[in-house]
């Protein structure tokens, strides 16, 4: 798919079709995350890919708003080191946003929708996923084919107008 079509087709999907992703789709999404840029290339992340229905159902319990994780075809949990320094924590957050975006665009390129879920219960997440004590689950990105209409370019996205967001030269 053309890049601009993938960018403009990506949308948050909360109702997924009961259709698995191909192994090559899963690999591509994860590879997009792995390749993301990060501050001085520190790559603070580990990515845990969950695809089993029962495991996804359990994982959805780590966040009260995480119900869509249960019905997703793939959920990628981004695991980060526990960082004391707020500046490094903010940098890790920015870099995780880059990795998430790149995964979501790679997914949209194949007609696969995506959504974000926070992680509330770190203890449960650690118990289910087995990551070490010096790490935490930063965010989950869930993927799957939409239950309703397929992805297609959105002409008028629900966003602040261009002329309001963008300033040329000066505020």
């Amino acid at each position: 798919m053309e890049t601009w079509d993938a960018i403009t087709s990506r949308r948050n999907v909360r109702q997924f079709a009961d259709r698995p992703l191909g192994d090559d789709d899963v690999t591509r999404i994860l590879e997009a995350g792995r390749r993301a840029p990060s501050s001085r290339n520190w790559q603070p992340w580990d990515l845990i890919a969950v695809t089993g229905r029962e495991e996804l159902r359990e994982l959805s319990r780590v966040w009260r708003g995480g119900g869509h994780v249960a019905e997703s075809a793939l959920t990628v949990v981004v695991v980060l080191p526990v960082l004391d320094d707020p500046a490094r924590r903010e940098r890790a957050g920015f870099d995780t946003g880059q990795a998430a975006m790149q995964m979501m665009i790679a997914a949209a390129d194949r007609g696969i929708g995506s959504g974000h879920s926070a992680v509330g219960d770190q203890d449960l997440a650690r118990q289910l996923l087995g990551f070490p004590e010096d790490r935490f689950a930063s965010i989950m990105i869930d993927f799957g084919y939409p239950a309703d209409r397929p992805l297609r370019p959105i002409r008028r996205p629900d966003r602040r107008p261009f002329s309001e967001v963008v300033h040329f030269g000066r505020w």
Copy 2:
């Protein structure tokens, strides 16, 4: 360009060719930023687009490592609200990472390289760009055609190996 080619071609560029971007390239990069997803669609950002050579030179002084901004064809300054709540600040950082990534992929789709620069001197940035007191310049993304080789897909990116980053099912 195919999406995957744009994703894999994107690379940090620090030496830019002395070649301006077309107006439609500038618009597309900014539109990619405007369309980025954000937490509950709050869109915390304003984007200031700087393209004048003299303005870029002055802007490059806001960060000791920002020399490449001076030679870029376009630098987008992402301006955010000053937030007291650390959780909201981290959310804004994650969302800014998403917007930055989407702009950089849209640029790579057109053969345009990109790079990040922090902002050290907020007072100078405010003086040059005129944003209000309740905002700050979060990051700058600079764009331009590479001075050396054109962008093309990178087969072996300088990243931790896939098998180390990715965990299937469990850590």
